[in-house]
């Protein structure tokens, strides 16, 4: 599965796209995996106004992740 980071999250992490194989089965498991490797990023993903999408659809709370899922973490949107 692929994980995408947008805006300041990408700058903080030093990457904007990364593959996770084998994929964690849930969004919470993915966040825990990311936080273990990069605590600052893990904290930022739980920050105010940060939203997640799974396969380009906004999700609230927990979500199951299929092997080919595309997860994105979106900081507050700025408009154009």
């Amino acid at each position: 599965m692929r994980v995408l980071l947008f805006g300041r999250l990408g700058d903080l992490a030093g990457w904007r796209e990364r593959a996770f194989d084998p994929p964690p089965g849930t969004l919470a498991a993915l966040k825990a995996l990311i936080a273990a490797a990069d605590p600052a990023l893990g904290e930022a993903l739980g920050g105010r106004g940060v939203q997640a999408t799974v396969d380009r659809v906004l999700v609230r709370g927990e979500a199951a992740l299929a092997a080919g899922a595309e997860v994105a973490f979106l900081p507050p949107m700025s408009g154009g």
């Binding site: 947008f6 805006g7 700058d11 380009r56 949107m77 408009g79 154009g80």
Partner: protein
Amino acid sequence: MTVRLTTESFDPGAELSAFCAGRTESGAVASFVGIARGDGGAATALELEAYPGFTEVEIGKMAEAATQRFSLHDVLIVHRHGAIAPGEAIVMVATASAHRREAFEACDYLMDYLKSRAPFWKKEHGPGGSRWVEPTPRDLDDIARWD
């Protein structure tokens, strides 16, 4: 209804001509073009990050809501992403309706949405470095007018 993201510069005049062509029932077309400001040298470039496949779908939902709210015949939204130099068009909105009031108001409404809530992440590059920009209090006041 057309929503298009592009990393290339575009010609707002040509877009507007194409949007108006062949209309026999829309008595009004209103349009707006947003241009990247140089701010007297303080801004050397604007970088807009979009999430293709998500950003245009979310904008399309707002365009559909505006179509219902203002009884529009058609909507065109063209939005740049990537690096944008001062003087280049960032965004264009055109709205078509039977009479002018709905076209003006829908254009205003869509621009307030695009400037405050649309899925973009904006970075300004200047002589002093780069910074991520959030909506201004004025942008938020503008969108609140429609609630």
